[in-house]
Symmetry: C2
């Protein structure tokens, strides 16, 4: 999607200064989400575990940190043109929300057949939903984007989204009593971990950053193995929020540089973690949001034993019917 | 249970000074629980709604505020004797937890047939569970209490529990940007609201305090109508945490003096609120914990429209099977 007008060029990178800029831009517009500790989950993971609950963030995921930064970064001229993205997930609601705050229109291109609750969420925040043929998602989006001259917000590859995600790490370092030895992050396309790792390595270089992908949705793993961003076909994890089929140059480069390790988890491990977080922490997380805890519970994170660990709960958007199925 | 040795005599009352004493005693030992706002729930209730999430408190309910205060208040001699209570609910886990912190034993008398998860929770926190014939609960407890010379912690009628509950209101007033016009509280036996109302009326007399009982578990309503604490038979609300069959003199007197209004909700209204809190706020609350929000959603709280309202989410202990049934 190199031809699409968006907020960052391939030559750019993201630095701690961008994260600080994002932080200033979104201050007071997003929740400073709480940290939670749990003696039970610490014992079960053999770590000293703290959870950062981005599941309690506005619109139910960390994504608004980046979308509000994007919307607030527009010039008056750009604001008239509006924002656009393709997504069937949390990015849509977050973009509609951020655009609404900045008084700019948001167009969310979704595959026909997308979950009604996700469509309703976008519309509820004032976004325009365009349903298109799933086999021509990108072409359809590009056509609309050209017609509207709107600005594309790549969910995982734009400076805005990466720097926005990094602000969650600023909050962690501000709030936590002792600097964590390990930060564990769910990974879909890699935008979240790129921002978190950039921030952590700038401010606490000795803290290790570990990413967690589902076994069946491991585009970042495969990209690291290939040495460049790749696409995968039809990722199918129960963690639908991590079923991203592509990596992006900007976040990939940051991951190569700043992330210490990538591990994978099974769907069963994700469900087990999700149930535990619900039961013990009283927090609703979507399957994607439970991936980091899942890896810790399954002993998949190397040298975590006894460490001060922060795990991100990246989102909480799971509809009640789905939740009921998962609890069954 | 007037003969049982406990922390408060009928002549006592609870003042803001007791609440401050409790606050100092439990500081750092309980979570300073977060406040959450929701544009959606505000719109649905027609109020400016803030939620105080005691569901995220240690042991899953506000009860630890009082039980830790009780345990920390013991003299060295009393600490040897230990604490005792009857409960099939949150008070048991909280008492075991508080006692553990103070290094004093806790005996929790439960009806045979109590929910396994509740028994396991008490034991998990180091409490001793004694299962007795449900038809002789009080007599059995009194016998054990006499034998051990242990100190009874009345869940709703002791100064410790009432003052401890009041500390949640101190946190609300400390954290909130503008003083609330209305505070809405779930009511079982009345210990929580007695502490909240005492604190609110001392520090913000113009704030109204409204209590919410289930239609089928309305012992405080009936006590107010009778002008004295009464007992009711077999309260059967789905909000099991509010199924208290008795009121207590100390909390009753505070409720008469400091609570502005009592309203009731149906089980269906409780379930509806619980689902909304789960879906929109990403918070797991037990049915009892949703009662205040249920009353607001059902328009049962007089003159709430447009007001700055704080609703307490009193607890989050619902096991997954039960949760699944409620979502079905």
């Amino acid at each position: 999607m190199g031809n699409i007008s968006e907020g960052s060029s391939p030559l750019e990178t993201v630095t701690i200064d961008d994260v600080r800029r994002a932080h200033a831009a979104i201050h007071g517009l997003v929740h400073h989400t709480p940290l939670f500790t749990s003696a039970t989950l610490s014992a079960m993971t053999g770590t000293r575990l703290t959870l950062k609950a981005e599941s309690l963030q506005k619109t139910g995921s960390f994504k608004v940190r980046g979308t509000i930064f994007a919307a607030k970064s527009l010039s008056p001229e750009e604001r008239k043109r509006g924002l656009i993205a393709i997504t069937a997930g949390n990015h849509g609601a977050a973009l509609a929300y951020g655009a609404g705050l900045a008084g700019t229109p948001a167009t969310i291109v979704m595959p026909a057949g997308a979950v009604q609750a996700k469509i309703a969420a976008v519309r509820g925040y004032g976004g325009e939903v365009v349903l298109v043929d799933p086999s021509h998602l990108i072409e359809s989006m590009e056509e609309i984007q050209r017609k509207q001259d709107s600005i594309y917000v790549n969910p995982i590859g734009s400076l805005w989204m990466i720097a926005g995600a990094g602000t969650a790490a600023l909050e962690i370092l501000d709030d936590i009593a002792e600097v964590p030895e390990l930060v564990v992050v769910p990974v879909g396309g890699g935008g979240l971990i790129a921002g978190i790792a950039t921030t952590i390595k700038a401010l606490s270089p000795s803290t290790r950053v570990v990413g967690v992908e589902p076994e069946t949705a491991d585009v970042v793993h495969q990209s690291l193995a290939a040495g460049k961003p790749v696409r995968i076909d039809y990722p199918t994890s129960i963690a639908d929020g991590l079923n991203t089929p592509f990596a992006a140059p900007l976040s990939f480069e940051l991951i190569q540089r700043c992330v210490d390790e990538m591990v994978t988890v099974s769907d069963a491990e994700v469900v087990c973690a999700m149930r535990l977080i619900l039961e013990r922490m009283k927090l609703v997380v979507e399957p994607a949001g439970a991936a980091a805890v899942a890896a810790l519970l399954a002993g998949k994170v190397p040298d975590a034993g006894g460490r001060r660990v922060v795990a991100l709960l990246s989102g909480g958007n799971v509809d009640l019917r789905r939740l009921q199925q998962i609890l069954a």
